[in-house]
Symmetry: C2
Subunit: 212 residues, 2 copies
């Protein structure tokens, strides 16, 4: 058995096409909104939510039947109609390099979506490789409890500190030690993490100085 | 800020090209071995491990400098040399639909790899969106403890039961209840999970019968 290979895609500015306008298509669209992709829905009919998003110019809704030109130049394609034959046709029209998935038909898809949750920049994805989507969701819920809302600000803190370290700290060894040490600061819920970081930096910096 | 979009790729039979033959390339290659991809390494030199894999016909090693034809028809490309300009060239040679990543340069990549671990079919992936790869690894290690080796057999059990249910159970409502119920069996470490499943099936089946 070949196993699935998880990647984090950067979809910013990429053309993503969802064929279908029902509840399944709507779920795919809402999962894609934050990705920065150029989202197009192809369907003669669409749910109220899809219509609203199109009205707000967050997505494009082409109110039409599917035709092969619709997926030209698409980076990623979701065949998400309730018509199996049409879904298969969409997939058959895609070329070998395009990412294409048929809702509920993993064997005909070259990618599938894991169960996932986000806490700001933190993203945890769970897949059971077809063994049990129910268990994947259950584990996702368990991890959501474990990694709570406090991670949102913590991730922003780590992000800004890492950027600062990468730009400002020239000494390679000090850089490495700092990047490791900020995670050990135990500052997930600390009000003083900014101060703690400054102290840590001074400590490591003066140590590095002594070693020179 | 646009956020990354996690997907599970099916790489079976796909052409995947790793440009570079050093330690970084080696790590990418070993992470790809189980995916079923057709793996090609392009590099004048290669680590012992890459050479061994090529000798065992698990990958193809083309002992040469990179040229644009090397990535033609590739589904996925890793620019993993220690030469930033060459990595950038590889990326520039890729077309817009190809998945391409430059090691250590997320801004120039259209995907990146999360920290991840597998327990048989279970796969959990952690990404911090550039905030802290160190924290991503730390969380990965924590989850590895939490989801231990016993999940391997458990996932196989769930997989085979789900296949059986999808094929054998005709009643849609019974099917749905069974798929939910097997996860609640609390059979992660149970020696009697096969028996428990048979009992559960009989129970739900006879209930469904009464309701008809």
């Amino acid at each position: 058995m070949s196993s699935f290979y998880p990647v984090m895609l950067r979809l910013e500015g990429k053309k993503v096409v969802v064929v279908g306008g029902g509840k399944v298509a709507e779920r795919k669209v809402s999962g894609l909104l934050e990705s920065g992709a150029h989202l197009t829905v192809i369907s003669p009919e669409a749910t109220a939510a899809i219509q609203r998003l199109a009205g707000e110019d967050k997505i494009v809704w082409q109110q039409k039947l599917f035709s092969v030109e619709d997926i030209q130049d698409a980076f990623m394609i979701f065949a998400a109609t309730n018509d199996r034959q049409l879904n298969q046709l969409v997939k058959d029209c895609a070329d070998d390099q395009q990412l294409v998935t048929i809702a509920d038909d993993p064997n005909e898809s070259n990618f599938h979506l894991p169960a996932l949750f986000k806490r700001g920049r933190l993203c945890i994805a769970v897949s059971t490789g077809g063994a049990s989507p129910t268990l994947a969701r259950k584990i996702r819920e368990q991890l959501e409890q474990q990694f709570d809302e406090s991670y949102v600000a913590y991730m922003d803190f780590l992000f800004s500190k890492r950027q600062w370290i990468l730009e400002e700290v020239k000494d390679a060894s000090l850089k490495k030690r700092l990047l490791t040490a900020i995670v050990s600061l135990d500052s997930l819920n600390s009000e003083s993490r900014e101060k703690d970081f400054q102290r840590l930096y001074k400590e490591l910096d003066s140590e590095a100085g002594t070693l020179d």
